[in-house]
């Protein structure tokens, strides 16, 4: 694969970056297209079709409970991406400042942040979502928040370890010698130098969020029934799996492809961005 890409002139972009980028673009494109157009309204019960018609020319992924599966799958990409963006955004928005505080703050504060993050890390996201659902009722927001909270610790850890490396560098000492305060050092010197690290982390966290969303929806804790969602489609397919496997295959493939896409993208970006921006100077 790599040699093929190299011969085709894409050698400098590594294979995982290209493949991951393509898959992620595909998912994003599906989500965008489904906003303005789907072959059939995804959640409408169609007339003139069987309950579980197999894939055909007019219904590419077949029919499930008289609904068009292809329309549901591409509309489901919206849910997946929305949950991913919100969950990862929340995790980054909270986790990155916490990691910075842990790296730059006094020792006790750093200990507090890191031990708390250990605690959250030890707590499964699913359990958290079940708890939150029990308190606030099930729904997409609860799922997003639960996944987001569960991803905060990894962001805090990655930010902290990256920041510690940058803080030990000469240019931070020089910046302090020039009168830069801690906030200025965090924003102007530390963050730009760990941006690559964080982008990689976001990509990997995104893949995890997609999986978690599907799992939550499968348990009936995420997306409500009137919204297309891959996890929920799997849930609905379970009782009829032996009769109509295509109900599970297509949403399953969609989950696999998007998770693979984001993981590959993360790997590719790691190779591109991570090998120490600092050392390249």
């Amino acid at each position: 694969m790599t040699s093929l890409l190299r011969r085709s002139g894409l050698g400098r972009l590594n294979a995982s970056l290209v493949l991951g980028g393509t898959l992620v673009t595909l998912v994003a494109l599906a989500a965008l297209v489904s906003i303005v157009w789907t072959p059939y309204p995804p959640m409408r019960v169609l007339s003139g079709v069987g309950n579980f018609d197999p894939p055909s020319g007019s219904h590419w992924f077949g029919i499930g409970f008289r609904r068009d599966i292809f329309s549901q799958v591409i509309a489901g990409a919206q849910t997946t991406l929305l949950v991913g963006v919100v969950a990862v955004g929340l995790a980054a928005l909270v986790g990155v400042p916490l990691g910075l505080v842990a790296a730059m703050g006094p020792r006790w504060l750093s200990e507090l942040v890191m031990r708390t993050s250990d605690l959250v890390l030890a707590f499964p996201a699913l359990l958290l979502a079940i708890m939150l659902a029990a308190i606030y009722g099930q729904g997409r927001v609860v799922a997003m928040v639960a996944i987001g909270i569960a991803s905060i610790p990894t962001f805090a850890r990655v930010t902290r370890s990256g920041s510690l490396a940058v803080l030990a560098s000469d240019f931070v000492l020089a910046a302090r010698a020039a009168g830069r305060g801690p906030l200025g050092i965090a924003v102007r010197h530390v963050l730009p130098n760990i941006a690559g690290l964080l982008i990689v982390q976001a990509s990997v966290a995104f893949a995890l969020a997609i999986l978690a969303e599907a799992a939550l929806a499968y348990l009936g804790l995420g997306t409500p029934p009137d919204t297309p969602s891959w996890g929920r489609m799997l849930l609905e397919a379970t009782p009829v799996l032996h009769r109509a496997p295509h109900l599970a295959i297509f949403p399953g493939l969609a989950i696999a492809i998007s998770v693979l896409g984001f993981n590959l993208l993360g790997d590719g970006l790691r190779d591109r961005l991570d090998p120490k921006l600092l050392e390249r100077s």
Partner: protein
């Protein structure tokens, strides 16, 4: 102790000691002053405490170290030791500035160099926006970078070591500091570039009538740059005085050893070295810190020697060279 300058010196250090948490003394009772426009060298082997002295003056000591004594800079009433971090931040980059040893890592790799110079101005609200950028280009021009307007747009990795050190010097001089601290600024540079950078530093402080504390282990560099020299060993100043006088007629045996080691031909025609190695921190002997490596040491040296002075030259030795 060391000759104090009349009036209020740019930098006044009195009985500065730095200790670790476990009580190890890294610096002991440093006392010296640098007048406006005076250029003072700080020499000694690695591990003598030179860089630590610089960091202590800048208030940049690691939190695990404790400093006691007095550090005063002109234009600030209070002792810098124990001063709030906010007040120190305002002094750093304005009243006092520092140039570090390693130009390759002293600049932020993700920021254009012009922006980094401009930032030193904007942090202290000396200039803003387009004005700061213009000043930055002017400063880059002053330190002799070719095509300063274009260089300002370069990232650090696009510049050579010498060019980067020029940028670092431009940053240090940006706000016309009263005190410039240079920690081995030319050690990492080519010999041919070294002299130009040294000239730049001397011109820069002369134009601003700034005081210069210049750390190096290269005696040739000290004689090129400085008027006065402080010789450090084991976290103490063992000798001080005008550069010519101290190097021509050292009184402390350590200084004599340094001078002999720097001369290309030693007494027997080869390179001469000071016997033994610098002990690690906390393992220096009591009394005279140099006595374990000193040929002239006697039992008397187990007592900390008094500071003697003759004219502008001072030393701490029980058996100074040239005494009967």
């Amino acid at each position: 102790m060391t000759t104090d300058q009349p009036g209020r010196p740019a930098l006044q250090v009195r009985d500065l000691s730095v200790t670790t948490r476990s009580g190890t003394h890294l610096l002991s009772d440093l006392t010296f002053a640098i007048a406006d426009g005076e250029r003072v060298g700080l020499i000694g082997e690695s591990g003598s405490g030179k860089s630590l002295t610089a960091l202590a003056v800048m208030g940049l000591l690691s939190e695990s170290l404790t400093a006691t004594g007095g550090i005063r800079v002109s234009g600030h009433e209070r002792n810098l030791i124990g001063e709030r971090e906010g007040a120190l931040s305002r002094l750093r980059g304005t009243t006092m500035a520092m140039v570090f040893q390693e130009p390759m890592t002293a600049l932020n790799p993700t920021m254009r160099v012009g922006q980094q110079v401009a930032e030193v101005l904007t942090i202290h609200r000396r200039a803003r926006g387009a004005q700061a950028r213009e000043r930055a280009v002017a400063l880059l021009d002053q330190v002799g970078l070719p095509e300063p307007a274009e260089t300002a747009h370069a990232f650090p990795h696009q510049l050579s070591g010498g060019q980067r050190q020029r940028v670092v010097i431009a940053m240090a001089l940006a706000n016309d500091p009263a005190l410039l601290v240079c920690d081995e600024p030319t050690t990492a540079l080519d010999v041919t570039v070294q002299d130009k950078v040294l000239g730049l530093i001397v011109d820069g402080v002369e134009a601003r009538d700034a005081a210069l504390l210049f750390i190096t282990h290269d005696l040739a560099v000290v004689s090129r740059v400085c008027e006065r020299v402080l010789v450090m060993y084991g976290g103490r100043i063992v000798e001080s005085g005008p550069v010519g006088q101290v190097f021509a007629a050292p009184r402390h045996h350590y200084t004599a050893g340094l001078v002999a080691a720097s001369a290309l031909t030693g007494p027997r025609g080869g390179l001469s070295a000071i016997p033994g190695t610098v002990p690690s921190a906390g393992r220096f002997p009591t009394g005279c810190v140099f006595r374990t490596r000193c040929a002239a040491a006697t039992s008397e040296c187990e007592i900390q020697p008094r500071w003697d002075a003759a004219g502008a030259q001072g030393w701490a030795c029980h058996h100074p060279i040239g005494a009967s």
